[in-house]
Assembly symmetry: C2
Homo-oligomer: 365 residues x 2
């Protein structure tokens, strides 16, 4: 088996590359929970397939699928997608998967964060999460990548972004939440990020836009576009449910400097004009304790939840009047990349989007 | 996903390397069926682990394990064994796994034979076998190996041996059995072997020693030691249950020439002196249709079911007076390799031995 290392990435000279650095492949997990994905997960499976195909225009995609769905996945996906058996509790490989790190020789390792379904027994989103907890290690075995397990330290990949040059972007709402590491101070948590992502500075955004689901993951709010530049959600509509967070975060980021001392350039990325809401047609299995999906309830729809890939950016589309604007704005941020939109309303109904359902593995060497 | 090819290995210049050619790794499947492996499969798991460790002295081993057993396997095996999630119906990767083939450039592909649990609805050993049927393709996805599927042609890896130079060794008892390809003539079956293993000559041994289980797999009876040389089971005890097959096969092989026209040199490998029998202590779950395990019934114990690995040979030991003799005889056949015995009585109770529970992947390049 791949080694489980007792030291830390920083001690061993491994750092998390930024998403915009070169990648080897992208992992995804096939959705099938009927208590999360409406209508037997069939519409979500279609959307996940569309995302996989969009990414595979740029680089290889490996889809992880349960034994029960394996043949179905092979049949539904085009031949260029690799399909590997992997049992999970749901389909959020950004959060339960490994965070890959790299040293100056180009060797890969991974951080295997403790995963507790976004809050464990305090405010986690499902129980149990035992299979999700094993995804990172199983992937490391498949890819022969040694890993560091942060035993007792809970974190998800969607809770932070890095610029690859020493800066981490995260939110207080998530990392200081009661369901993750309540035994640790903010300083201790910051030290863990610095040690395991090999960073020098953590920029603490206050809030995310989904307090009830991921407790405010950064990947719906802001991200690095390149060193010294970030994107931030934006709206001028005071009635937009995310207006307050958008403005607070934008103003905050404008005042920040990164680990290299650069003042951040902040790009605005407009939110969808119309809030995406549950329609009342969500036919979802009942499970005690899961969050109900009431008609009219606002979903966490943000164009920010895109994935940067080799030569491209794959971004959510909602059938909203701002879809085109989002593509235009992202294209301006990444003039050297091709921006591809994928209609992912079904993924939002399940609680996330493109960034949440993908995990990039950097290029070795 | 790895490609599914429509042509044939012979047409594309791929041949099955002999087991004594250089290998990259060996695959195994973790046992857990309580209706096959006695006492909750725990003694068998111990024995499989011992086999894995013996092989890993010589080359890497990947253990395939069900989601339910995954953590347990990681815990029970030493860190050098790679563990990958894979669901199966039982633990015979020689038979349900891929047969790897190689071209002159050193590229690997695989043959994915149709698998029906050694006889399907005619005289198969369990039902269903749907998960076993997927093992070959799943492994090809993990290892990024393109494959040929012999749709409608049933075969198992334990049913044949090759010398890597155009010769196949098999049995009529198995390949002409009613449960596999009754719609095909012997010539048609021979043509399939030649086409998919890329061979010129098939040597048809008449019988194997387990008509009721695998219908007489060759890998309990004879194998290639090197080009032009085979090993054959042997006993001078007329009361040995396998006496007749041993003598018939030995006499038959002495008269054979291989694809290159060489007359075969035949090495004798003695059988255990005392037949291995079920003890009556087999606490096995009842499942309708499976073969009962009666106290006193003879198990298929043969030293022939060894595995050749890089620089070594891993052979079964039974606690029999002939254990040492078998090691000595195999050492004489392979003077350049280290011969390692593993106590595998528990594996025999489940219906096979070291060769049946392993599948080698040749070295690329």
């Amino acid at each position: 088996m791949a080694k489980r290392l007792k030291s830390t990435p920083k001690a061993d000279g491994y750092r998390m590359p930024a998403e915009f650095e070169e990648q080897e492949q992208v992992f995804m997990l096939w959705p099938e929970r009927n208590d999360n994905w409406r209508n037997g997960a069939k519409p979500a499976q279609k959307a996940f397939g569309d995302v996989a195909m969009a990414i595979s225009q740029f680089e290889p995609v490996t889809m992880l699928a349960s034994p029960g769905q394996y043949k179905n996945v092979l049949k539904r996906l085009p031949p260029e997608i690799r399909v590997i058996e992997m049992t999970s509790n749901d389909a959020w490989v950004r959060d339960c998967g490994p965070t890959f790190i790299k040293n100056d020789e180009g060797d890969l390792r991974a951080v295997d964060w403790e995963f507790n379904a976004w809050g464990g027994l305090v405010d986690g989103l499902y129980f149990p999460w035992d299979q999700d907890e094993m995804v990172a290690q199983k992937l490391c075995e498949v890819e022969n990548v040694d890993s560091y397990k942060t035993k007792g330290f809970v974190l998800e990949g969607g809770a932070f972004h890095v610029d690859g040059e020493g800066t981490v972007l995260t939110t207080e709402m998530c990392l200081l939440s009661k369901g993750r590491n309540p035994h640790m101070t903010k300083t201790e948590i910051e030290d863990m990020l610095k040690e395991y992502l090999n960073a020098e500075k953590v920029i603490w955004v206050k809030d995310g836009i989904d307090p009830d689901e991921t407790n405010g993951h950064i990947d719906d709010v802001a991200c690095f576009v390149r060193p010294g530049e970030v994107a931030c959600i934006w709206t001028e509509d005071e009635n937009n449910p995310f207006y307050k967070v958008a403005h607070e975060t934008y103003e905050f980021l404008l005042r920040q400097t990164d680990a290299k001392g650069r003042r951040l350039k902040v790009h605005k990325l407009d939110l969808p004009k119309e809030a995406v809401k549950y329609t009342g047609e969500e036919d979802i299995d009942y499970v005690e304790g899961t969050i109900p999906r009431e008609a009219g309830e606002v979903c966490i729809a943000s164009y920010m939840n895109f994935l940067i890939v080799n030569g491209g950016v794959v971004i959510p589309q909602y059938g909203d009047v701002n879809d085109e604007l989002a593509i235009k704005q992202v294209q301006e941020m990444f003039p050297e990349r091709e921006v591809v939109g994928v209609f992912t309303r079904e993924i939002v109904y399940g609680g996330g989007n493109i960034h949440c359902i993908t995990q990039q593995m950097p290029k070795r060497g």
